[in-house]
């Protein structure tokens, strides 16, 4: 059975190869091939899942060794897969949501002449992402890690003729590279410490290692996670990444890739558990990001950017949870999965809206769309309820657990984190309501002459519906006598937190803040009409619109500073380094034309020099002897 694991990766990989090298002749069938292979991969996943369920909890991990990849001296990297409950969860999420989005894209990209390539990239992404979660060692994970980075680069910049898209793609890759630096350093640290970087031995050996080393490794892993999961301070790329086609935003920049950081931290749980400082850093990052993302989300008028902000903040929740240790891992993953459903659903909804509004993204030019695209409205609405944590829907269960766990951290930390999480919940409710109202309610702010909003074709709506269903029930399903937690426990281990405030209080307060958020939003956007042009807004709003000046900062420090540095270096290279060389040559020439002068052409001067030479010769000889 375990020999099927490779198939999970192979299927989409083959698809990518076919579609990217196949050339024009595949233009008409390409998208079907791509989708088929994605679904196939999903099927394999399901099969494996069934097999896994058939076993007892501690024999569920499967392992498949393919071949020895890089053997040099003590350095041994294998291409080998490890499929345990954690990986399994991801495999299902990735292939499942992935397949749905493939299907959706068939409709969404219908009129794009480069659709074949688009599906090629999507398949490439699936393959890389699966490699990431299936790898049994950090180096192979690194391959998947950069692979998804590449796929996201290609897809963000899919419409390359738009300079903005190209720039965004480049930015995403670069920021991620910074994170990758962290990952590679972490791997090097592991190699020097343990002599290996396979999950098994490394995580097993954490006990025998100095905390300092583990903290270093942990921080480096965190850096990597920040890059990939758009956490502060490396979050700046996610907003721009919305330049990509919406399905991409749904799959890569909402449901799967951006959660890789959470996977990495959870996977390396053993390391973090043994390195409290690193853990603290993680929770801080998580808390900060969940607020940051939420605030940014409130200010954006671009529907996708708003959703992007929300993605950031939701992942902030997950990271926060993962940072809490055994009491949080399971919930982090659980929220990750539910988030996968509703955020993907929301994005697909947004895509469907844009599809109907000929690619308008400014929510101020929407309004009252609910009667024009009912299905979209319905699915989007359900997603909305799920994300704000409306009782009974997925978001409610997963987020609520995280908030509890945050309080359970105990001490002032616990209060701060819990408070942050609660506040975040409120803001989430606010900005999501804002999106909802601006898009589907109020009077229409678009010109009926140009735009004729219409419902999207079945092929697009069906996936939306499926996801909506997921976002409604998943959370509840997982929480039935903690099935999800027990499922993950063998991998992530689980500990019940003892929160100073009782679970019911937390739940109650969440609902309260939720209502607060929704209420304010309704007061601001529901009651009075939304201006078609954005008002100047408060200082905070303006800052939030500019991602809280993040980019301005980067621009000032890295871009400007960097350009200055390089240009000066170029000068130095020419004047100093090369100058030294040319200088020597020149001075030789000078010396030469100087010495030439001795050659006056006058016999007598020659004679003089000869005589002088003779004198010197004699003198020297005599001196040698000291006579």
């Amino acid at each position: 059975m375990e020999n099927l694991i490779a198939l999970l990766v192979a299927a989409p990989l083959v698809g990518a190869a076919l579609l990217l090298c196949g050339g024009k002749r595949l233009d008409r069938t390409g998208h079907w091939i791509g989708t088929l292979l994605a679904v196939a991969s999903f099927a394999v996943g399901v099969a494996l899942f069934a097999d896994m369920l058939g076993r007892s909890a501690d024999h569920r991990a499967m392992h498949q060794y393919l071949f020895s990849w890089i053997p040099v001296g003590g350095f041994r990297a294998d291409v080998a897969f490890q499929l345990d409950q954690l990986s399994m969860t991801f495999v299902l999420l990735i292939t499942g949501v992935g397949s749905l989005i493939h299907i959706y894209s068939i409709g969404y990209m219908e009129h794009d002449e480069r659709r074949r390539r688009f599906f090629g990239y999507l398949n490439l992404f699936l393959a890389a992402m699966l490699l990431l979660v299936l790898a049994d060692n950090y180096l192979l994970l690194y391959v998947g890690w950069e692979g998804v980075g590449l796929a996201s680069y290609l897809l963000i910049g899919f419409w390359q003729h738009k300079p903005s898209a190209a720039t965004a793609a480049k930015k995403a890759f670069l920021v991620n590279r910074v994170g990758d630096m962290g990952l590679s350093i972490a791997i090097m640290l592991m190699f020097t410490t343990f002599g290996t970087f396979a999950f098994g031995p490394v995580l097993a050996a954490t006990g025998a290692t100095s905390e300092g080393k583990l903290t270093a490794i942990g921080l480096m892993l965190l850096l990597a996670a920040c890059g990939k999961s758009a956490q502060v301070p490396l979050q700046s790329w996610l907003g721009d990444a919305m330049e990509g086609p919406t399905p991409v935003s749904a799959l890569i920049h909402a449901a799967t890739m951006v959660t890789a950081g959470v996977y990495l931290i959870t996977r390396s749980g053993a390391v973090f558990n043994a390195a409290p400082d690193a853990q603290l850093a993680v929770v801080v990052v998580g808390a900060v990001t969940l607020l940051y993302g939420a605030i940014v989300g409130c200010a954006k008028d671009d529907i996708k950017k708003a959703l992007a902000g929300s993605t950031m903040s939701q992942i902030g929740y997950m990271v926060l949870a993962a940072g809490l240790g055994p009491i949080g891992y399971a919930f982090a993953i659980m929220h990750l999965v539910t988030h996968g459903f509703f955020k993907a659903g929301l994005f697909l909804g947004a895509g469907s809206v844009m599809h109907g509004m000929n690619d308008e993204v400014d929510m101020r030019k929407y309004g009252g769309l609910r009667k024009y695209m009912p299905v979209t409205f319905l699915t989007f609405g359900l997603g909305y309820l799920a994300i704000i944590g409306f009782p009974g829907l997925s978001g409610f269960f997963s987020k609520d657990k995280i908030i509890e766990a945050a309080f359970a951290k105990g001490g002032t930390e616990g209060w701060i984190l819990g408070g942050a999480a609660l506040l975040g919940a409120a803001v989430t409710a606010f900005y999501m309501t804002r999106v909802m109202l601006m898009t589907f309610f109020g009077e229409k702010r678009w010109d009926p002459k140009e735009t004729h909003p219409h419902e999207s074709p079945k092929i697009m709506t069906v996936p939306m519906i499926v996801l909506a269903v997921g976002s409604v029930f998943a959370g509840g399903l997982f929480s039935i006598n903690e099935s999800f937690v027990t499922w993950l426990e063998p991998v992530t281990s689980f500990a019940h937190g003892h929160s100073p405030v009782s679970a019911t209080t937390v739940t109650a307060s969440t609902i309260v803040v939720l209502l607060l958020g929704v209420g304010t939003a309704w007061l601001m956007y529901g009651r009075k009409p939304v201006p078609a042009l954005a008002p100047r807004g408060s200082l905070l709003t303006r800052a939030a619109r500019r991602d809280l000046l993040q980019d301005d900062f980067n621009d000032l420090v890295f871009v400007r500073g960097g350009t200055h540095l390089t240009t000066t270096l170029v000068q130095l290279d020419r004047s100093l380094v090369d100058g030294a060389v040319n200088g020597t040559a020149a001075s030789m020439g000078g010396l030469s034309s100087l010495l030439r002068r001795l050659q006056t052409g006058f016999v007598r001067s020659y004679a003089v020099q000869m005589l002088g030479g003779a004198a010197v010769l004699v003198a020297a000889t005599l001196l040698m002897r000291g006579v």
């Binding site: 350095f75 720039t167 590679s184 002599g195 960097g562 170029v570």
Partner: protein, 552 residues
């Protein structure tokens, strides 16, 4: 005495050079095909060498040949290959056919040029390429220091004519201007390397003097010297050894090139046609790094470890400095040149990290960098030949009109920024790890290189390939068949070696271990001993254990 395989591998291209040069002016196309044929035969021979070579065998050098040559100088015609040499010979002979194919039209006389029965640039071009190949191969094979030196120096001359004699068509300012810059670059290349070589000559002579003084008869045989060292019959005084080492290293550092001796490279690569640029950076420069590994370390172990700190710092500077300058370049080829400087920094870093990962990685790096730069540079050459300009600013939106060209260019670029899954990643990571295990700080700073690499590659790609289509490139043809034939195999190779580098590592490891044993360095042991691996697959161990053996 079996068939002299190694000699043959070098003689074939030499003969080819003569044959090609001999063809009359009218027979231009014939000359091209002839050159291609000979380069392919050479490659075949190289493959035979690779198969006949047995990594497992104990002897450091195999397929050895040894004949008396210049007794008075203690020089023997001694050839032999270790894994490293085999890999590099394979690389060289593999690249040459592509270089020839890529340069198919680079040496065609200008249309308006008056036909001249005597002047045969095309024949000359391909003959020179083959000549360089012959000399490079020999310098990889030579196990006699003097023999090596001879070809190390002699290869400068044909290179010099290749750089100075042939360049990109047209350009902004007329042919005259271009010719001026070309010959300047060529002269700079030659003098720089000649100076290095002559310094080395002094050291070579010094080495002879020492051996003659202590062994009775002066010798240049690498093996003899190494054995004499280990046997204790030869011990060079510390001071002398350091001087000799510096003499050798200087020459190799110029060739490699290592900061601050790099300034000849951008000019040479910028002004010459891209196939020649590939020849410089992917083939000829490798001799420098190869020689560090084979001669500097094995002849002067103490001095090497004495100089290591400084060299590591210089290498580090090369990495960062080269990358930063690459970012600032406006000229595609110069950009790639500076990128190469950065990469050579990595190679040298790996060599002098003195760990099996470092040196193994460095060797892989030489091969992979050869292939990746070839891919990138040649595609860049195709691009330039279409537009007649090397300036990045003159391009834009190419990806729309020539998607295949853009795609291959991107893959070449991704290889250059060593994306996992492509060959260069393996080597770069090995070098980093190898360095990190012994010099953590340097290792960490070196990782900056991977970010900067991403920067210059992606900026280059963005500015040339994406965005709105520039007017001048609107009707730019996509890759032609010949060009695809050049690029596709290289890319395939990059992918294969990225996924399954084991053949290469198996080839290289023993040689690296031997070098390390000569230098008397051991890999640092991990601080925490990990006991039997629970999660890992059973099949795994069988395969891995022998690697462990190899490590011992």
């Amino acid at each position: 005495m079996s068939f002299p395989l190694l000699t043959a591998t070098a003689v074939v291209p030499a003969v080819g050079a003569i044959a090609t040069a001999a063809l009359p002016a009218a027979k231009r196309t014939a000359a091209k095909w002839l050159a291609l044929l000979f380069s392919l035969i050479t490659f075949a021979l190289a493959l035979v060498v690779a198969f006949r070579f047995d990594p497992g065998a104990g002897a450091p050098f195999q397929l050895t040949e040894s004949h008396a040559w210049i007794r008075d100088f203690g020089v023997r015609y001694e050839l032999g290959v270790d894994g490293i040499a085999v890999a590099l010979i394979a690389l060289t002979t593999l690249l040459i056919p592509f270089i020839i194919l890529a340069g198919w039209h680079d040496a065609d006389p200008l249309e308006e040029a008056t036909p001249n029965r005597r002047w045969r640039p095309t024949q000359g071009f391909f003959a020179l390429i083959l000549a360089v190949e012959a000399m490079v191969v020999l310098s990889f094979e030579a196990t006699d220091v003097f023999l090596f030196y001879i070809f190390f120096e002699a290869m400068l001359i044909p290179m010099y004519f290749l750089i100075g004699g042939f360049g990109d068509r047209a350009g902004r300012d007329g042919e005259e201007e271009a010719a001026g810059r070309r010959s300047y670059a060529a002269v700079k290349f030659l003098l720089y390397n000649l100076a290095g070589g002559l310094i080395m000559l002094a050291a070579v002579i010094g080495l002879y003097a020492v051996t003659a003084d202590q062994l009775g008869t002066g010798t240049f045989s690498l093996q003899q010297i190494v054995e004499a060292r280990t046997a204790g019959t030869l011990n060079i005084g510390t001071g002398t050894e350091r001087l000799l080492f510096l003499g050798f290293f200087f020459a190799f550092a110029v060739k490699a090139p290592l900061w601050p001796l790099h300034t000849w490279l951008p000019g040479a690569m910028g002004e010459s046609t891209s196939p020649v640029a590939v020849l410089i950076t992917a083939v000829v420069d490798k001799v420098g790094t190869f020689a560090m590994l084979r001669f500097c370390l094995q002849l002067f172990p103490e001095a090497s470890s004495w100089a290591t700190p400084v060299i590591l710092v210089l290498a580090l500077i090369s990495i960062v400095y080269g990358a930063l300058l690459a970012v600032a370049q406006r000229d595609i080829k110069r950009l790639i040149a500076y990128a190469s400087i950065s990469h050579f920094g990595f190679i040298i870093l790996g060599i002098f990290a003195m760990t099996s990962q470092g040196q193994g990685g460095a060797t892989l790096y030489m091969v992979n960098h050869g292939i990746s730069t070839a891919a990138l540079m040649l595609v860049a050459g195709f691009l330039i030949s279409r537009r007649g300009s090397r300036l990045i600013a003159d391009y834009g939106g190419v990806q729309k009109v020539a998607p295949v060209l853009a795609g291959t260019f991107l893959i070449g670029g991704l290889a250059t920024l060593s994306l996992p899954g492509l060959a260069p990643f393996v080597s770069e990571f090995l070098v980093l790890v190898g360095t990190f295990t012994r010099y953590p700080v340097i290792g960490i700073i070196a990782t900056l290189g991977i970010v900067l690499a991403a920067l210059y590659v992606l900026v280059l790609y963005q500015r040339t390939m994406t965005g709105p289509v520039k007017a001048e490139v609107t009707n730019m043809p996509d890759l032609r068949v010949r060009e695809l034939v050049v690029v596709a195999p290289l890319i395939a190779l990059l992918l294969f070696l990225g996924v399954y580098p084991k053949p290469l590592t198996d080839l290289v490891n023993p040689a690296v271990q031997h070098t390390l044993s000569v230098v008397d360095k051991k890999d640092p042991k991990p601080t925490v001993q990990v006991n039997a691996v629970p999660g890992e697959g059973r099949h795994g161990h069988a395969a891995n254990d022998q690697d462990v053996e190899a490590a011992k």
